[in-house]
Amino acid sequence: MSRNLRRLAGVVRLGLARFTGRLFGGDSRQLWSSIAGVAFAVMLMTTVGGISLGLASQSAIESEDVDYWVVPDAASASAIAVSVDAPRLGGVHSVTDRLGEDDRVDYATPVLIRVLELSNPQTGHSEYVLVAGVIPDSTNRSIIGLPTAPLEPGDPHYADGNYDGRWTGQAVLSSGAATLLDAEQGTTLSPKTGSATNRSLTVSGVAESEYTTGVGEVPVALVHLSEAQTLSGATSGDQADQILVSTDDAAVAGDIEQLYPQTNVVKRTGFAQQQLSSSSLPLAIAVGAVLTAFVVGTLFVATMMGLEVLSERASLATLAAIGYSSSSRSLLLVVETLGVTLSGAVVGLGLGIGGIELTNVLTERYLGIASVARFDPLLVAAAFVVSVLIGLFASVYPVWLSHRANPVEVLQ
């Protein structure tokens, strides 16, 4: 190793030794304050960055096994023509089959939503229930807050479009619906519809549903799509209100849009919640967080390290007196400042990850939105890159201050 490299390595080690020595011994308030400042900035950046990532990737929907909802464009005349009461999608079974063939799609199902009057012949209780028709697969999923596991996978009654397959009659009730109907698992329910009064449903499961409105819990039920279509008279044209597509690949959205003309592909966290963000907002938030962390962190660290230089001026003057060049003394201060900012980055990352978790807990509890913020390894890289930049920029001030001090005057 050349003499210059050894000097460089020696000065770096000296800077680290001075930093750790002062951090854990003597008066180290300024160092700890600087670390706390950087930690705070990095924590904010990480938490806000996590929220931005969450918004950008809509990870909230992933947590409910739903990424995209294909819905009719309400402004489209052709979509409106499908139904007299609301725009609907047609030919949904075949479209869903095509979606299922895409390896990137984890799960896809049409969803038909209808309010049906169900009655319990044994007790005479009758109630209007929001019925959702879906095509369950072999995985237990949660749709409108109800599990799909009690439903037989597939859509047996559809039978290639003829609606003459086996009628399963399976229905998963929310606990609210079960209470209103005085029903339990195995109870037979009679739908009161104009088109298929001879059909009945059997309660195959009862579960707590998280689906609520402003007036409280809504009684809901989950049934097979073709049976919901049959009960509601939506078999003509194989109709559904929307299609749920579950995927981890954000690029799928563009392909889904090609499936249907005059439809929208939206991201939502729940059955009735609106799209969380526009495309550029998360990026703007993330950039804002990084810039804020950088500016605030740099100014804070520069100020505190300036005070540190003033309190350490005798040591720096001593180094100058015994022959340390100005570049070596500058390097020493840069290393010490980087030590401060990197320590702050480690602490801030820990706090930031905690902030992401806290954000998710609070938003889920008070807003009903799960996993708004998302942790990504990129946040670690960002925290360290920003902290290094803070260290490099902030060290300019203490270096300038140290060069202004005259060693002879300081050592007198």
Binding site: M1, S2, R3, N4, L5, R6, R7, G10, V11, R13, L14, A17, R18, T20, G21, R22, G25, G26, A314, S315, A317, T318, L319, A320, A321, I322, G323, Y324, S325, S326, S327, S328, P407, V408, L411, Q412
Partner: protein, 254 residues
């Protein structure tokens, strides 16, 4: 001209008509030039110091001892005149060149020790070797040797706060000697020590003078008694030079 040794010896340090002035009273943009006051700290000092000399620098407080010491140690540059250290005119050097000259040729011992508080005694002694790019193992060995030489082998891992004043000053002397400098300057090296510890420190300083020149600034006659010769300053001017036999007879100003 004042010479501290025979003319046949090798001069390690020569100062020729060295003057250092400072300007007081102009501290801001709103100050007028008329507010400025020039203070002459060192006035036309000429002296030659040879290898092996132990030179005392005496004078009352404010006489310019420390300023002259800083000029001789290449910490500062004169306003007028020349300081030639080991053949190099320090007045022609840049700050970085003077730092290199100090690193190679000058060891400095301060009254207040000025050890780095966060480092061990060994690390303090090895500090100049870091700037020289000396390998770690060599630094450590050399620092241990010098700590052994000053009687602190068993205190190498201690921080300055864990050492007595005398021990700290011995660490400072070891640090000053670690680069084997041709000039060792000490500014009031016993000023903060009791008389017995001060005597031990003076023993150390005078014992290392064989291969180098040692300049000790002090107003303590007990310190000056240990010098081969004494340069006396008053109001920045060199008043007299005396040999050990002579300088006790010269009436001193307090």
């Amino acid at each position: 001209m004042v010479s501290t040794e025979s003319d046949t010896a090798d001069p390690i340090l020569t100062c020729d008509g060295v003057t250092r002035t400072f300007t007081r009273g102009r501290s801001g943009w709103l100050s007028s030039p008329q507010d400025a006051q020039t203070v002459v700290a060192v006035d036309d000092v000429t002296a030659t110091i040879n290898t092996g000399d132990v030179v005392g620098l005496a004078g009352p407080s404010g006489s310019g001892k420390s300023t002259l010491l800083h000029l001789l140690a290449a910490l500062d540059t004169p306003t007028d005149g020349r300081v030639i250290l080991d053949g190099t005119d320090t007045t022609t050097l840049s700050e970085s060149q003077r730092a290199k000259l100090r690193l190679d040729e000058v060891g400095i011992v301060f009254q207040h020790f000025h050890l780095l508080p966060s480092l061990s005694a060994r690390a303090n002694v090895a500090l100049p070797l870091v700037q020289r790019g000396v390998p770690t193992s060599t630094r450590r060995a050399k620092a241990n040797d010098l700590l052994d030489a000053v009687g602190l082998a068993d205190r190498a891992s201690h921080k300055p706060a864990e050492l007595s004043g005398g021990e700290q000053q011995r660490v400072a002397i070891a640090r000053a000697l670690v680069t084997d400098p041709s000039l060792l300057v000490a500014d009031e090296p016993t000023g903060e020590l009791d008389s017995e510890t001060g005597r031990q420190i003076l023993d150390l300083l005078t014992n290392v003078a064989d291969d180098r020149a040692v300049i000790i600034a002090s107003h303590d006659e007990a310190v000056l008694d240990r010098a081969d010769s004494v340069l006396r300053l008053h109001d920045g001017r060199l008043q007299s030079e005396s040999t050990p036999s002579m300088h006790r007879e010269i009436p001193h100003e307090s």
